[in-house]
C-alpha cells in the first residue's frame, strides 16, 4: 500500500515537473576554427560544432540544462563555467578547473547537468587557464514567465560586448607573467566587438518597446555603452530584477550584465547609432591607432543612412550602486563572519608581477578543492588541508558573511563571486583607502554577482552562506585570474559532503584519470596524512630583501679591493719622496 502510494506521488511529481520544466540539451564539440570578427585579422578561435561565434544557451526558469562537452581542441584542456548560476546542489557543475572539476583533456567528454531556478541574463565561458578570450564564451539567457516586467516590452534583443585580441591567449599569458613584464602591464585589446562582430545592425520597429539584454563577455576591458537618441530603463542586473531606473550611459565591467527597456521612436525617419567604448583607463599604454569603440545601429529603415556615432564630451555613466532590487530585500545587518581581503600587485622572486589577497597569490591546488572536501571526512573543516596558495576562506552553513575588499592598487577591478549574488552595501570612490566604517549603507542594497571596485578604494559585500560548495571569488579580468587574484570560498563543507560524496559522475572522474589529475586527498594530493602538504603547488619565492649573504660578501670584497688599491697607490706615491730624503 505504502509502495503504491509513494509511486503514485512520484508519478505526480514527475508529471508536475514535466509540465513546468523541460530538459534542454546542448551537444558542444569544442574545436579550433578560424574567424575574423573585426575584419582586420584572421585567427584561430575556439568554436563549438565547427562554428564561431558560439550559440547562446537559452532556457526557461526551472529547466534542466544538459551540456555534453567533447574536447576536440587537440592541444588544450577546457571546461565550462555558467557565470552567475547558483548551481544549488550541483557545485560540481560550476566549471573552474582544479576547483570543482578536473580539466577536460583533449579527446575527453564531460557532461554538465543542472537545473536553473533563477531568471535573467547570464553567460557561459571556459574557466581554464585564461582560455575564454580565445572565443569560447557566449550569452546564457533564462526566460521567466513570471517576470515582473513582462508586460513592459514587446520583444527581446541580446547584445554582447567584448574586447578582442589578435594574439592567442597562450603566448600572451606567457609574456604577461614574465620577467619581461615587471610592472604587470596587461596586454591591450586590438578591437572591441558587439555580438562578435562590428557595425552590427539591429532592426527596430517603430513604437515597440524592447528588452535589450547586454553582456560584457570581454577578457579585460570594461565598456561604456549608450544608445543615441534613446534612453535606457534598467530592469535587471546580473540576474536580479531592479526597479525600472532610467540611464543614459552604462559602465559594464567584464562579466557584468544589464537588461534595459528601450522604447522605439514612432517614426522611421532616421537610424540611430549605439556605441560600446572600452575604458582606456585600464590600459597601461594605449597603442597608436587603437579604436576603442565599436558601433552598431538601431535600424528603423534599412534604406536610410546609418549615421556615424557622435563624439561625446565626457563619459558620465550611471552609478549602479543606486539601484534598488525589485524584491526590496533588506540589508543583511547582522554579520556573523567578516572577511577582509587586502589586494595588491607585487613582484616575486622570478621577477614577474603577481596579484595578492592578504599577501598570498593564488596557485591552483593539485587536487580540485571540491574533491578535497569530499575525500577528507571530518578534516574538511580544517583550512590547512586546502594548501598554502589557494586563499581558502571557510564558511559555516547559514551564516551571514561580509567581504571587505580593500583595493591597494591604482587599477579598476571587477570582482565576481561564484554560486551567489551579494549585496553591495558599501563602495568607495577612487583613492578612498581601506574600509573603516560606513554609516550610510542603503536599506535595500543593490545585488549582483560582479561588482567594480575603484582604484585604491574599497567595497563591502554581504551574502548568506546558504549554498554549500566550493566557490571562487576573483577579479574577472582574465589577466588577473592568471596572476593570482583569486580566493577559494569553502562553504559548509560537511553539508557539501552529505550532498555530493559519492555522487560525482563517472565522466567527471574519468577526466581526472585522463588528465593525470589526482582526485583525492589534500591540496598536495596526499591521501594518508591530510596535514602533510609536501609537494603542493606553490607560488615563486618572494624577492630577496635588500642585502642577502651574497650582497654582503660582494660589498665586503669591493671595500677590501678599494682599500688595498689605495694602500698600493699610497705606497707608490711615497716612494720617490723617500728616495729623495733617504
Amino acid at each position: 500500500m505504502a509502495m503504491s502510494l509513494s509511486s503514485f506521488l512520484l508519478s505526480i511529481s514527475f508529471f508536475l515537473t514535466a509540465v513546468y520544466a523541460a530538459t534542454v540539451t546542448y551537444d558542444f564539440d569544442v574545436s579550433w576554427v578560424y574567424a575574423n570578427p573585426d575584419g582586420v585579422y584572421n585567427r584561430p578561435v575556439i568554436g563549438v560544432n565547427g562554428k564561431w561565434p558560439l550559440p547562446p544557451i537559452t532556457a526557461t526558469k526551472g529547466d534542466r540544462v544538459v551540456v555534453n562537452v567533447k574536447n576536440s581542441l587537440g592541444n588544450e584542456t577546457t571546461s565550462l563555467h555558467f557565470h552567475g548560476l547558483f548551481q544549488f546542489g550541483t557545485n560540481h557543475m560550476d566549471g573552474p578547473i582544479q576547483v570543482t572539476q578536473c580539466p577536460i583533456p583533449p579527446g575527453g567528454s564531460f557532461t554538465y547537468n543542472f537545473t536553473i531556478d533563477q531568471p535573467g541574463t547570464y553567460w557561459y565561458h571556459s574557466h581554464t587557464k585564461g582560455q575564454y578570450p580565445d572565443g569560447i564564451r557566449a550569452p546564457l539567457i533564462v526566460h521567466d514567465p513570471d517576470s515582473p516586467h513582462k508586460d513592459l516590452y514587446d520583444e527581446e534583443i541580446v547584445i554582447s560586448f567584448s574586447d578582442w585580441y589578435h594574439g592567442m591567449m597562450g603566448p600572451l599569458l606567457t609574456d604577461f607573467i614574465s620577467i619581461r613584464n615587471p610592472s604587470g602591464a596587461e596586454p591591450v585589446p586590438n578591437a572591441a566587438l558587439v555580438n562578435d562582430t562590428q557595425n552590427l545592425t539591429v532592426s527596430i520597429q517603430p513604437g515597440k518597446t524592447y528588452l535589450v539584454r547586454m553582456v560584457n563577455m570581454g577578457a579585460f576591458a570594461a565598456q561604456y555603452v549608450w544608445f543615441e537618441g534613446h534612453t535606457m530603463k534598467i530592469v535587471e542586473v546580473d540576474g536580479i530584477y531592479t526597479e525600472p531606473t532610467e540611464a543614459n550611459m552604462l559602465y559594464m565591467t567584464a562579466a557584468q550584465r544589464y537588461s534595459v527597456l528601450i522604447t522605439a521612436k514612432n517614426s522611421t525617419d532616421a537610424n540611430f547609432a549605439f556605441v560600446g567604448s572600452m575604458d582606456q583607463d585600464l590600459f597601461d599604454v594605449v597603442p597608436a591607432g587603437l579604436n576603442p569603440n565599436v558601433t552598431g545601429w538601431l535600424v528603423y529603415d534599412e534604406k536610410k543612412e546609418k549615421p556615424a556615432a557622435k563624439e561625446i564630451n565626457a563619459f558620465e555613466p550611471f552609478d549602479d550602486f543606486t539601484l534598488v532590487p525589485e524584491d526590496k530585500q533588506g540589508i543583511l545587518d547582522k554579520v556573523d563572519h567578516s572577511v577582509t581581503l587586502d589586494m595588491k600587485m607585487d613582484n616575486l622572486g622570478d621577477g614577474a608581477n603577481y596579484a595578492f589577497f592578504n599577501d598570498v597569490t593564488f596557485v591552483r591546488a593539485k587536487v580540485p578543492t571540491l574533491y578535497t572536501v569530499l575525500t577528507s571526512g571530518s578534516e574538511a573543516t580544517n583550512p590547512v588541508i586546502y594548501g598554502g596558495n589557494t586563499n581558502q576562506i571557510l564558511l559555516k552553513g547559514n551564516e551571514t558573511v561580509e567581504i571587505i575588499l580593500n583595493n591597494n592598487d591604482p587599477g579598476k577591478h571587477p570582482f565576481h563571486l561564484h554560486g551567489h549574488e551579494f549585496q553591495v552595501v558599501s563602495r568607495s570612490e577612487d583613492e578612498a583607502g581601506a574600509y573603516i566604517s560606513d554609516s550610510s549603507m542603503p536599506p535595500t542594497p543593490m545585488r549582483r554577482d560582479t561588482v567594480l571596485v575603484r582604484p585604491n578604494g574599497h567595497i563591502v559585500l554581504r551574502f548568506r552562506a546558504t549554498n554549500p560548495g566550493v566557490w571562487l571569488f576573483h577579479c574577472h579580468i582574465e589577466w588577473h585570474v592568471a596572476s593570482g587574484l583569486v580566493a577559494t570560498i569553502i562553504e559548509d563543507p560537511l553539508t557539501l559532503q552529505a550532498q555530493l560524496a559519492g555522487k560525482i559522475p563517472a565522466n567527471h572522474l574519468q577526466a581526472c584519470k585522463d588528465s593525470n589529475t589526482p582526485s583525492e586527498g589534500n591540496a598536495a594530493g596526499n591521501t594518508k596524512n591530510l596535514l602533510d602538504l609536501t609537494g603542493q603547488n606553490k607560488s615563486p619565492s618572494p624577492l630577496p630583501a635588500g642585502f642577502t649573504a651574497r650582497g654582503i660578501v660582494a660589498l665586503v670584497f669591493s671595500c677590501l679591493a678599494a682599500f688595498i688599491g689605495m694602500a698600493v697607490i699610497g705606497q707608490y706615491g711615497m716612494a720617490p719622496v723617500k728616495a729623495k730624503t733617504g
Binding site: I179, L543, I569, Q571, Y572, G573, V577
Partner: protein, 361 residues
C-alpha cells in the same frame, strides 16, 4: 649635489691647472735664475708680464673653445642621447674612467713633472739659438723677442685643450649645471697647490695631500667603471622590460632580478631628493641595485690598478718591467708609463724622463 658639483670635473681641472702652474713656476724660476738682480729690472718686469700674458691668453682661448664645445654638445646632442640614456651614460662613464686612470698616476709625480718641464724649457730655449729655422729673419727675431710669451701661451693652450677634451669625455653624461662650480674649485685648488710647489713648502705633506687626492681620483674612476657596466646592463634591462622598468622607479621590476647581487628600494643615486647617495655614487660608485656586472667590474678594476701600480713601482726601482730583461727597455714603453702628455711629444718626453731618472739616481 651631483647636479651642482661634478667631482670628476673638479679633479681634471685641478690636475691640469696644477700642471699649468708648474710650467709657469718653472718659467718664473728660470727668469729669476738667468736674469739675476744685476740685470735691468725693466727687462725682467717686461718678461714676467709676457709670461702672464701668455698664460692668460692661452687660458682665455681654452675657455672659449671649451665653452663652445660643451655648449654645442648640450644643444645638439642631448636629445639624441635621451633616447638611449643608459647606453650613452655607460659609454661616457667608461671613457671618463679610462681618462682618469691614465692621468691619475702622473699626479703622484708632480715633482718629476717640475723637473721634466725644466728640462723641456731649457731645451726649447737652447734650440732657439742653435737651430736654423726656415723662417724669415723678422719672424725669427719676433719669436726670440717674445719667447717668454709664446712658451707659456703654447703650453697653456695645449694643457687647456687637453683639459677641455678630458672634461668633455668625463662630463658628457653629467648635467650642465654641475660644471661651473667644479671647474672653478678645481682651477683654484690647482693654482694654490702650484703656488705652494713654487714656494717650495713642505714637500712631504704636499706629497701626502697628492696621494689622498689620487686615491679619491681612483675611487671615482673605479666607481665610474662599475657604473659604466651597470649602465649597459640597465640599458639591456630597459630593452627587455620596456615601460615597466621605468614605471617601477627603484622598486621591484626596476632591475633584472637574475643579475642582482643586492637591491634596496631606496638610496638611489641620481634621483631627486636622494642627494647624499649621489655623492656616495660619484665618490665610491655606490649603487642601490648592484649587479654581478657592476660588482665584478669594480673589483676587477681595482685588481688592474693594484697590478699596474706594483709594476710601475717595480720599474722605477729596477729600471725595467717585471719579467723583462733589464737590457730590453724600450723608450716607447717608458713614455707610456708617464702617460701625462700628448702623443706628439712622446719621443722627447721619453728622453726627458730618462734624464730625470739619471738626475734622481
Amino acid at each position: 649635489m651631483p647636479n651642482v658639483f661634478a667631482v670628476p670635473v673638479f679633479f681634471i681641472c685641478f690636475r691640469e691647472c696644477l700642471e699649468t702652474s708648474i710650467i709657469v713656476s718653472v718659467l718664473l724660476a728660470f727668469l729669476k735664475q738667468s736674469l739675476g738682480p744685476e740685470h735691468d729690472a725693466a727687462v725682467r718686469k717686461r718678461l714676467v708680464r709676457q709670461i702672464w700674458l701668455g698664460v692668460i691668453l692661452g687660458l682665455f682661448i681654452c675657455v672659449v673653445i671649451g665653452a663652445g664645445l660643451i655648449g654645442a654638445f648640450y644643444k645638439a646632442g642631448k636629445q639624441a642621447f635621451d633616447a638611449a640614456e643608459f647606453l650613452w651614460e655607460g659609454i661616457f662613464a667608461l671613457i671618463a674612467s679610462i681618462i682618469i686612470t691614465l692621468m691619475g698616476a702622473a699626479l703622484l709625480r708632480v715633482n718629476k713633472m717640475q723637473d721634466k718641464w725644466r728640462t723641456k724649457i731649457a731645451k726649447a730655449l737652447e734650440d732657439k739659438d742653435s737651430s736654423p729655422l726656415p723662417l724669415t729673419g723678422r719672424l725669427k727675431r719676433w719669436c726670440q723677442k717674445y719667447a717668454m710669451f709664446l712658451l707659456p701661451f703654447v703650453t697653456v693652450l695645449r694643457e687647456g685643450i687637453e683639459a677641455v677634451l678630458f672634461i668633455g669625455g668625463v662630463g658628457l653624461g653629467l648635467p650642465a649645471t654641475s660644471f661651473p662650480l667644479a671647474v672653478i674649485c678645481g682651477l683654484l685648488a690647482g693654482a694654490v697647490i702650484g703656488y705652494l710647489i713654487y714656494k717650495g713648502g713642505n714637500r712631504t705633506s704636499l706629497q701626502i695631500f697628492l696621494i689622498i687626492s689620487t686615491c679619491f681620483l681612483y675611487l671615482i674612476a673605479a666607481g665610474l667603471f662599475s657604473k659604466g657596466i651597470w649602465d649597459f646592463e640597465a640599458h639591456a634591462w630597459g630593452k627587455i622590460a620596456g615601460e615597466g622598468a621605468l614605471e617601477a622607479g627603484s622598486g621591484p621590476g626596476s632591475y633584472d632580478i637574475r643579475k642582482s647581487v643586492w637591491h634596496v628600494n631606496c638610496c638611489t643615486p641620481g634621483s631627486k631628493g636622494d642627494g647624499g647617495w649621489g655623492v656616495f655614487n660619484s665618490l665610491f660608485g655606490w649603487q642601490n641595485s648592484a649587479t654581478y656586472g657592476s660588482v665584478i667590474s669594480y673589483n676587477l678594476y681595482w685588481l688592474v690598478i693594484i697590478a699596474g701600480f706594483l709594476m710601475l713601482g717595480y720599474k722605477e726601482r729596477s729600471g725595467h718591467w717585471p719579467l723583462q730583461k733589464p737590457a730590453a727597455v724600450a723608450e716607447d714603453v717608458q713614455s707610456q708609463s708617464d702617460g701625462s702628455s700628448g702623443v706628439g711629444e712622446k719621443k722627447q718626453e721619453g728622453a726627458a724622463t730618462s734624464n730625470v731618472r739619471e738626475i734622481q739616481a
